[in-house]
């Protein structure tokens, strides 16, 4: 099996997820080559061939040009699998390529066995095994599912396909200001999910956090609903945290949330649904109504 790994560079830096693609290919004994649009002098720790297109010319986001460049690399390598990260870049690019080549697209791969790919579904409540019906397949890999391999010096071949008329044009990055809490330093995080029901109920988790000397975290819907500000959000589009104790209150455990907290030392989940996927990472799973359980827990901790 031969894989073409589609690396990513953002703001001039090679994304860590790129090395997880390398890890995937290594783990399953695939031959591989890499494609990336990055600065021409990028240091890429990879033992193999890299097709590099210059990001000064092709921009870090320019899907029309990137698609053509990727297809150029595919022509040169004739890979069985074209592999992206399941990231904002990956799911934007991967299926344009799949549509063009008319090959099977498979999203969010978390495992592989003998030509069959394992993907999550229903908010990670299930796993699904899928098989491509075409010779080639375009894959996106779930972040954190495969161990990164960061080693070696590549043989770089520069790709240039002239100018491509863009239908989508990158204007600029917008960096959101970092204000509010810094969760990365907290030893205890009590995190609030949609399951608390309404904004007023967050008082319960706030009191628990204070009692434990910790900070208040949140899942994304809580932030989208403006119950708490963005600085509290844990997950792929929020902060990545690793406290000694993480208490998830009314959080289902979607992959994007788990990605931000699964390195926590000890995880307690409080959820009324025993099948909630947060159970996959919980050391203790309390089956209860958060709004009933949390105040009782706080009271007992205070008097202990």
């Amino acid at each position: 099996m031969k894989a073409l790994l589609i690396g990513e560079s953002k703001q001039g830096k090679i994304e860590d997820s790129t090395y997880e693609l390398v890890g995937f290919a290594k783990q399953f004994g695939m031959e591989s080559a890499m494609f990336i649009v990055a600065k021409s002098d990028s240091q890429i720790a990879y033992d193999g061939k890299v097709y590099l297109a210059d990001s000064d010319k092709y921009k870090e986001y320019n899907p029309d040009a990137h698609k053509k460049l990727i297809e150029e690399a595919i022509n040169k390598e004739n890979p069985d699998y074209i592999i992206f990260s399941h990231s904002s870049y990956g799911w934007d690019m991967a299926f344009r390529v799949a549509a063009d080549l008319k090959v099977a697209p498979i999203s969010e791969v978390v495992d592989y066995k003998d030509g069959t790919f394992v993907v999550p579904c229903c908010n990670s409540k299930f796993r699904r095994e899928v098989k491509p019906k075409t010779d080639k397949a375009v894959l996106t890999l779930q972040g954190g599912a495969f161990n990164p391999v960061i080693e070696g010096t590549p043989q770089v071949e520069t790709l240039d396909i002239g100018d491509v008329e863009p239908s989508v044009e990158f204007i600029d990055y917008e960096v959101q200001e970092k204000t509010g809490v810094d969760l990365t330093k907290a030893e205890v995080i009590v995190s609030v999910g949609r399951g608390v029901g309404k904004k007023e109920n967050i008082e319960f988790e706030k009191e628990l956090a204070e009692t434990l000397g910790g900070e208040l975290g949140a899942s994304r819907p809580v932030v989208d609903a403006e119950w708490l500000d963005q600085s509290h959000q844990v997950g792929t589009t929020g902060q990545t945290v690793a406290p000694k104790l993480y208490i998830a209150c009314g959080i289902s455990g979607a992959i994007q949330h788990l990605a931000g907290m699964k390195k926590s030392g000890f995880v307690v989940a409080i959820n009324k649904d025993k099948d909630a996927p947060i159970g996959e990472v919980a050391d203790v799973f309390v089956v209860a109504d958060v709004n009933e359980f949390v105040p009782i827990l706080t009271k007992k901790l205070k008097s202990a």
Partner: protein
């Protein structure tokens, strides 16, 4: 402007799921269905655009069995002008490539300026339909959209990237726009609008008329993932569980003394 929004009906993710006898799908009985969360943002943005650009027409489309008409009617009540129901009792067996081809087949003669979709479906989460559709129609495509603004002849959007970073992007029309959570605040349809929606056009087309391709992927089986080894599950009275939890925290962590 001619606008289309594609909405999917999905089971409430808090439902008690069971795997069906084929082991390839979940049992569809006893589930409560609702509009895919991401698609509510797509519908809201589509309605706002329609209201802003006079003379616009907004169509809402859904593929699935009879029950998906509820999803279509909800979007009609939010403000869409007409509905297209692509009747398919085996929607759950189609892969995104097939569904995208059916929508493309319908859309190619309609000349939509903008097609809104959700970024991904909550049940399947493959995030494939929109880019495949754009590829088939040869439209521009942009995903993870968290801000949207219509300009003269193009649209300007913000794409959400990882870790608090966004990219501002200019998109030529016609385009497929895949919407991310938090793009706007979806409205609740009012009672008069729900009544009005009942009189709006809702056409049904059979999937056979639009679908001409075979699937590209096949599902072998579906199963529940394993729990973390050694994870303790506490059930019962809140009072006793709290005592038990405190005991465990004292033993296993240094933060509770």
């Amino acid at each position: 402007m001619k606008i289309l929004v594609c909405v999917k009906q999905v089971p409430d993710m808090e439902s008690k799921f069971k795997i069906d006898s084929s082991s390839k799908w979940y049992d569809q009985s006893d589930l409560v269905y609702k509009i895919n969360e991401y698609d509510e943002y797509a519908a809201e943005e589509a309605v706002r655009l329609k209201e802003k650009v006079s003379g616009s027409e907004l169509t809402v489309l859904s593929i699935g069995p009879e029950r998906v008409k509820d999803a279509i009617r909800k979007v009609l009540a939010m403000g869409a002008d007409k509905g297209i129901h692509i009747l398919d009792n085996e929607e759950h067996l189609k892969d995104p490539f097939q569904k995208a081809s059916a929508i493309a087949e319908y859309a190619k003669s309609e000349n939509f300026d903008i097609i809104f979709t959700g970024l991904q479906s909550q049940d399947r989460g493959s995030a494939q339909l929109a880019p495949l559709l754009a590829g088939m129609l040869n439209y521009s495509f942009v995903s993870t959209v968290v801000a949207f603004e219509n300009k003269e002849g193009y649209v300007e959007v913000a794409r959400e990237l990882e870790g608090g970073l966004r990219a501002k992007v200019k998109v030529k029309l016609p385009a497929v726009v895949a919407c991310q959570l938090g793009l706007n605040t979806p409205r609740y349809p009012t009672l008069p609008n729900i009544m009005k929606a009942k009189r709006k056009e809702l056409k049904t087309v059979n999937i056979e008329e639009l679908l001409k391709v075979e699937p590209l992927i096949e599902t072998e089986k579906v199963y529940f993932p394993e729990r973390k080894a050694g994870g303790i599950v506490l059930e019962g009275k809140a009072d006793e569980m709290a005592d038990e939890l405190i005991k465990i925290l004292k033993e296993k962590t240094q933060v509770v003394k």
